[in-house]
Amino acid sequence: TKRNLPDHFKKYRHVWVFIELERGQVHPVSFELLGEGRRLADQLGVQLAGVVLGPPGDSTRHAVAEAFAYDADLVYLVEKPLLTDYRNESFTKALTDLVNTYKPEILLLGATTLGRDLAGSVATTLLTGLTADCTGLDVDDDGSLAATRPTFGGSLLCTIYTLNCRPQMATVRPRVMRMPQRSNKRIGRVIRHDLRMLEDEIVTKVVGFLSDGQSENANLAYADVVVAGGLGLGAADNLQLLKNLAQTIGGDYGCSRPLVQKGWMAADRQIGQTGKTIRPKLYIAAGISGAIQHRVGVEGADLIVAINTDPNAPIFDFANIGVVADAVSFLPALTEVFIRRLAPGNHIRLVN
């Protein structure tokens, strides 16, 4: 921990959050991390900085403004055309250069595909520690970062420290941390940094992007209402019952891992430790036993409803409301009741 830190690392101060900007959009995990970063910075009595890497233009300017709106004290900015698309080479160089110049003590990134790709390279370049997929971040008595993450499929948690190296780096999955309040804080101090790199030095070129498509791209992790099914649904055809309910209540749908393995649902709809973490206002699980690997992905939900034929299913240990029933006959009934309660005039149009 901090006591044994070599002297040259003692100048590493302040908390940084990497602001993930891709195709013009800031990933919301960046705001969640600014919320956490704020808390850590306040505890340490240091400043919170956002790091924005992007091409010159509106989207980068917007990302800078948003970092302040989510309470950053300052922003480090590298603005270059060759940062238009994410490439490991250019982003790794830009971020490591910043770290080596301004020396943060804590650097947080989202555990997205981009964040994990970048964090691994940056930590190796800096020869420092990187704690993956954390679910809790805290500052110890002596000012060290205590990063907690699930282990062995979520059945245990472990707290990890980075000794004798700086910065202390960690990644956190989207939706694990609470979304903080946005304010109208004005843009503050922006420190611009150069990137000495030419396009020719970057081996990898982005030649295309295939979007998942507008309708399929419903962002499960950020849905307010999620309905999910497990093996208890019995057959792939019954997934339609889930989708009907999800559509009726304006939610998205997902599943437990076995349904992905069976090819019943796409992998990016899997919820849980090796899938997505969700944090909806309402989560309805039908025919899901509630294994620990599933549980860790849904515990942040405000209200968990479980439908299961087995009164002893582990899901009832962490659900708020339980219904011991056959999901296949119960889901259509539930859908109808919702239709009646929510939009009485639409009754005839929606039941078909």
């Binding site: 691994g120 420290y161 939009a343």
Partner: protein, 283 residues
Amino acid sequence: MHIVVCIKQVPDSAQIRVHPVTNTIMRQGVPTIINPYDLFALEEALKVRDLHGGEVTVLTMGPPMAEEALRKALTYGADRAILLTDRHFAGSDTLATSFALSQAISQIGNSFDTPDIVFTGKQTIDGDTAQVGPGIAKRLNLVQLTYVAKITSIDLSARAITVERRSEGGTHVLKSELPCLITMLEGTTVIRRGSLDDALRAARSEIVKWNAAEAGIEDITKCGLRGSPTVVKRVFAPTPREQKAVQIDTTEKRVHDIANELVASIFTHQPALQHELSSADSA
């Protein structure tokens, strides 16, 4: 073409139990398997070899018993297996692991043939960090292609490779160069059943075993616990929720009545939802 595939032997975590009193992991009797994600990397490597010719070398760092995982990989059709094993590696975090593996990969280059592609899995099911692949790439100064869903084309003479990389909300098509490191996504391919010939060959094959020195590692302070900046300080059980679910009474009730009660209960718990759900529906 020479391809190196990194595989890790892991406990079959579906069978791991935690001791209810001591909160320690009960590993005894838990079978070990090849990290399931690594099988997709291995299969992809074998496919590339079958198409372009060359050899596939599998590499693992682990205790002597990790030899089993390598032998299994040979039954799938890998050509050569190397076990990196030394007590100095014990307690490695991802920085130390990627250091040892990258040194071994350089040594593989010296001893056999320089690799054109190094494959790893997306992540393991035990450490689960997805950091070792990027760590190896950086140390060997290889182009890094992570979360690869598909290798679209390889042009050996032009040293060019095109892949589809999974990213948030879609897939990027990337054009890059050999040599490179690829972390392969799961579910991307059907894993072959090894042939009988391969099974026989695997049983007879010599597994190359290297300790740190034999892998060309001079500075062992970069390995194991000493070479690991991260340290696991505390392991503990998650705090259980105090309350069990409120059960909707279902005895002798029609399914519609149960559904009615559930919806009423949902809106009692979260009154705001009533408005939010209905506005979503009429939108």
